[in-house]
Symmetry: C2
Subunit: 117 residues, 2 copies
């Protein structure tokens, strides 16, 4: 991301980082949770629920949409957002696999700081 030497990293690593970045702000985490809670996709109500200005929330929504985690659709005057459950499911697997490997590794340094390299 940003201006990293992206070419030098795995596609997988970049995708994981990409999604992680999308969730790297409490407001965006809150938005996803909010959309998950309410079945129906909300519009500007999201802005009302968050302690941020409407424009800022809109910006966060665009970021989530850019990554593909949510979808927006115009319904007359309002815009409805909802989770992209397909992508979320795929992302879930990626994170699951990632954490599985990470937690599987034995703690070499030990819980109490005993490194035995």
């Amino acid at each position: 991301m940003t201006y990293a030497k992206t070419a030098a990293f795995t596609h997988e690593q970049q995708q994981l980082a990409r999604v992680a970045k999308a969730l790297a702000h409490p407001a965006r985490v809150a938005i996803v949770q909010l959309l998950a809670a309410r079945q129906t996709c909300i519009s500007g109500d999201i802005a009302a629920e968050l302690p941020l200005s409407r424009t800022t929330v809109s910006q966060h929504l665009q970021e989530l949409k850019a990554v593909g985690l949510i979808r927006g659709e115009i319904d007359g005057l309002t815009v409805c957002y909802c989770l992209n459950t397909e992508l979320l499911a795929r992302v879930q697997q990626q994170f699951t696999a990632f954490f599985a490997l990470a937690t599987a590794a034995a703690p070499v340094c030990g819980p109490t700081e005993d490194c035995a390299c």
Copy 2:
């Protein structure tokens, strides 16, 4: 994080965002995977494996350490890093719960863009 109105968000949301942010860069994802792969905790070898300058890698290591995902320990001349499997396990559960809720929600907008708000 950053300069968000953190007080307005859940502790849970902030923690999740905090970890997500730590993983929001492919280099840091790579570091965690590298530490997971090699049982023994590595030191400056990490820098050699990544396509970044040694100082930049050190900076990424400090970030991961600040969040608590990894641990560093001085062993004479070198410094050994290893995963904090305890925290990783906890974080894993948080992400699992988060994605469980997110994927459980029915896609109201539909896979083919049919919003029925």
